[in-house]
Amino acid sequence: MDSFNNHKGVVTPLDRSNVDTDQIIPAEYLKRVERNGFGPFLFNDWRKLPDGKPNPDFILNKSFYDIGTVLVSRRNFGSGSSREHAVWALMDHGFKAVVASSFAEIFHKNSFENGLLPVILPDEHISTILDRANAQPGYQLFIDLENCEVSDDHGLHVPFVIHEDSSTHDFRRHTLMNGLDSIGLTLKQENKIDQYEKNN
């Protein structure tokens, strides 16, 4: 996994709560056996009209928002199905981070496993960011994982966490910044696994 230190990118605002993984990528497109190639189907049903043409009203089809690398949404982002394809589709499209006021747990874990940064901010800051992004196509956020701060060029400068639990935040920050592979980490404890199996 690539390491993540900081990222500056254009914001794509998605002002909704409870964005579920069926919206992020509908089940019809989960049939691929590879990890890549899911980007074209990201938010498929919102992004495309019934005839398959782009829906001009959807944010990902609007200029400047289509090149966003920071998706900003609201509460309970990524609820529903465990499909990691949702994270793969977001990353395949080019997103590096998702900013929301809370994340559904399975999506949250899947993000960590793939190096998609889940940034948790209070609602008031989310509202500020959404307002600025809606008003100004091409609006950018700077996300600094080392110092856990989000800032923009208009005076926003706020701390964030990537998990509500502080020790989980610290651990996941460490693994993301170092691009650590969790299977590799666990296999270092192979003697303990052997021991557990012997005792049980």
Partner: protein, 489 residues
Amino acid sequence: MSLKTVGNRDLSKKEGQGKMAGKTMFDKIWDSHIVDDPTGEPTLLYVDLHLVHEVTSPQAFEGLRLANRTVRRPDLTIATVDHNVPTTDRDKPIADPISKQQIDTLAQNVEEFDITFYGVHSPEQGIVHVIGPQQGYTQPGKIIVCGDSHTATHGAFGAMAIPLGTSQVEHVLATQCLLQEKPKTMEIRVNGELSKGVSAKDVILGIIGKIGVDGGTGYAIEYTGDVIKNLPMEGRMTICNMSIEAGARIGMIAPDETTFEWLKNRPQVPKGDDFEAVTKEWELLASDSDAEYDEIVEIDAAELEPYITWGTNPGQVLSVKDSIPHPESFSSAEEKESAERALEYMALEPETQLTEIEIDRVFIGSCTNSRITDLRDAAEIVKGYKVSPKVTAMVVPGSTLVKWQAEKEGLDQIFIDSGFEWREAGCSMCLGMNPDILEPHERCASTSNRNFEGRQGKDGRTHLVSPQMAAAAAIEGHFVDVRDWEAKI
């Protein structure tokens, strides 16, 4: 429905007392599976059973191959195909080439890594959360994982069942362990007695309606109380199954005589004296009487009713007696907007009585409601009646063995005589991944677990209900209060 939080655990107080409180079932299972527990890092837990299906596993097996790793414990891993499989014409090749490739890929992977596989023509095939218990792989005290969000189903047996994404599937395949941050615990106590026409599905829909779709986020839920104790295993599975719709990955119920009787003589369960011995161990799993939970929620069964979802998340749910709400009636701007969007998608007007809503399709099936008792409950309603000519209705048993059991009991004929289609086992119309999908704008009474936009097919409109409510709606062509309807018989 009254629901209240009766207290947060005060950890400092607990330590101050100098006396250890009892353990929850969650703690007992967690503690007995710790392989490594370094400070400041997630706990490494040993996994007793890994259930694999075709959708979330191909990239995990590929990852193993790329890293030159193998499956550590193929003997603790079983696989089946359920999400993609068609529910008709099983003797013909699968028409969709990409579905076929995903199914074939699993067949190749289980062969390469020597994993027990219940393929599409196996009599034990079915929805992964139906066949695990059915074959007796699911047992109290186990840690069970699966790359599927409805894995909590197995928690109904007093197991700790955890849903995974594909990276974690790969992690478990390679190490037989799982890195987990310890969740908080929530007891949801359902007191009293369910009235006729109110089912296990209504219990969990009522819970979700009250605590919300993220009310359980960060918690492992234990369902307790007389209502839970009096439910058969199938009903308990229905409740645990939808824990994720309340935001919780883990949902569990203490094992008891009902559990042991249900498991006795299942293929993978110990027999004879071994069964007696293992039962003694299972009896110790229940939470101690002085165990403390981080959160307690109490629900009075007398106030539960048959429920119908009206919106596009499972928390947008109301009693069958209610009418569609005005978006303005919601207190927060977020809920108001969400309701507006949901009503537009669902093509519903405020103040419409839920019982006036006409439906096009009925789906009885899914890992939530496709077990034999679900089919019996639905058959009892439709027996002697005909499905409304406006409605296309189908029953999809959760496994081939459930299907055979239903056929032995003559349930298939009851459904067929009523005008239902009687299908082969699979996930079917719960999710739009196989040929069973809604057409755009079709409205469906469904016993499945998600009413998200497009879940059952692009632009399809889903209302989640119990098997009884779905069955009665199929006959009438619109929703009915199954309690009144039964009285009419």
